[in-house]
């Protein structure tokens, strides 16, 4: 499970780099909206990209508990396991 989540995290970080203009290293604890300077519209676009990349559905209502890169990677892993 850990390695599965690590794989997801690696792909996620690669996708996040395409969305953010900041140069900072993207680590587990990075806050997606605050640290990566993403507004709500960009986050919506990011979610659709993630859905397509991982071929999953990410309900918007699941996002309030998702703050960091690690949170999002865990959420994606869980959703992938459910499909």
């Amino acid at each position: 499970m850990a390695s599965h989540t690590d794989d997801v995290k690696s792909e996620l970080i690669s996708l996040l780099k395409q969305f953010t203009k900041t140069e900072m290293e993207i680590t587990d604890s990075i806050h997606i909206m605050n640290d990566l300077d993403l507004d709500s519209v960009m986050v919506m676009e990011l979610m659709m990209e993630l859905e397509d990349h991982f071929d999953i559905s990410i309900p918007l209502n699941s996002l309030p508990d998702v703050n960091t890169v690690a949170d999002l990677a865990t959420e994606i892993s869980t959703l992938k396991d459910q499909t």
Partner: protein, 400 residues
């Protein structure tokens, strides 16, 4: 941790800073109205090009007389909800009128367009169900989705293939999914790709709800909206709309071919716990609905005006919304440019809507014009002259 009041104070500070930059757009007060399309704002006679008053019926004599008569007969307000205080005859008559207009048997009247969407979405779906909505949908739809507790998923704007893909991912859950789109999208004025979306809805056996707020009275042979124009009315499960645009009042509705709609009103908290529309509002709305049906020339004039404004703005080199409609959005690039252009138009006696991110799709800054059948050629020429004289750099960015 920040206290609740400290959080409000933080918002107040941001709001005060915003008001300094946007004082004119947010602080515009209409002191007098001379007609449906002209008023006095901050002491200046101003042509109104941001009202959504598509058919220009706010000063129609029949509507005003009906409102006056109902107010004198039934009073100014209902002072409560229909479930608690009872329905007035006018409420039921308007529901009958709307159902007959759409050729269906079932209708609920709500107190605003906002509560129509909130009320329908929360009654239809709940936890464990799914909503798939076009990413450009109105805030009332987003709020209804949030309140419902259902899983909420976007599909890319007007992209039927993308909708298909997202429904496929849901598997068996697709059959407990409601798809939500709009007839004319409020910011860019483009139509939903409804025929393709309806076909996909049929493929997955989902439900389809369309908000015709900006298309009622505007599209279709008899003004019923996009579903009529696209000839897919029999495939639409629920149509919501508002009285506050073409019908020149305030209120909302849902019509449906499904008899279940009659029961949904008892499951809809935004319906149950809101005071019902006032007698005057109901009466003027009934009169306006009658005018939509008997005066197609208003719709023809609206489109003539929309085409005239759109074609001439485009001819000046402005980047416009993707298709002609009574909502014409001019993409003006940066926030500073948008505010500067808005102020110049305002100083020349033209009021358009200044719309900034995040209220806009694709983070665009827009000068949003809404055209009315009541705009005269002379008024539209004044508007065009003002746009022609703007000294702002032309826009390089294309609409996505």
């Amino acid at each position: 941790m920040m206290s609740l009041l400290e959080r409000v104070q933080q918002f107040a500070q941001r709001h005060a800073e915003s008001e300094q930059d946007f004082m004119a757009p947010l602080g515009a007060v209409i002191e007098h109205l001379y007609s449906a399309t002209e008023g006095s704002i901050n002491g200046r006679r101003t042509i109104l090009v941001g009202t959504n008053n598509y058919l220009g019926l706010t000063f129609d004599n029949n509507c005003i007389n009906a409102c006056n008569h109902a107010t004198r007969t039934y009073g100014t307000g209902t002072t409560g909800s229909r479930l608690a205080n009872g329905s007035y005859a006018g409420h039921q008559e308007l529901e009958d009128d709307l159902a007959k207009f759409y050729g269906v048997k079932h209708c609920i009247v709500f107190s605003t367009g906002y509560t129509a969407n909130l009320g329908m979405i929360t009654a239809l779906v709940g936890k464990g169900d799914t909503i798939i909505l076009d990413e450009h949908c109105h805030a009332s739809i987003y709020d209804g989705c949030k309140l419902s507790g259902a899983d909420v998923i976007h599909f890319r704007h007007n992209n039927a293939e993308d909708l298909d893909k997202r429904l496929r991912r849901l598997g068996d859950k697709a059959s407990t999914t409601v798809i939500i789109v709009e007839g004319i999208y409020s910011m860019l004025g483009d139509r939903a790709n409804l025929a393709e979306i309806a076909a996909i809805k049929q493929k997955y056996d989902a439900l389809l709800l369309i908000d015709e707020a900006h298309s009622l009275g505007v599209l279709g042979d008899t003004g019923r909206g996009l579903a009529q124009e696209a000839q897919v009315e029999d495939q639409i499960d629920f149509i919501t709309g508002t009285f506050s645009k073409s019908l020149a009042g305030i209120g909302g509705y849902c019509v449906s071919q499904h008899q279940e709609l009659d029961v949904l009103r008892y499951m809809s908290r935004p319906y149950i716990f809101t005071a019902s529309p006032s007698p005057g509002t109901i009466a003027s709305t009934r009169a306006a609905l009658e005018i939509i049906q008997t005066t197609p020339s208003l719709r023809e004039q609206l489109w003539k005006n929309a085409n005239y404004l759109y074609d001439n703005l485009k001819g000046m080199g402005y980047e416009l919304s993707p298709e002609v409609s009574p909502v014409i959005a001019v993409n003006v690039g940066t926030p500073d440019n948008a505010l500067n252009m808005w102020k110049k138009l305002f100083d020349r006696g033209i009021y358009v809507n200044l719309v900034m991110p995040p209220a806009t799709p694709n983070s665009k800054c827009l000068l949003r014009c809404s055209v009315s059948a009541a705009h005269t050629s002379a008024q539209l020429d004044v508007v065009l002259d003002a746009f022609a004289n703007l000294q702002s750099p032309r826009l390089n960015e294309k609409f996505a």
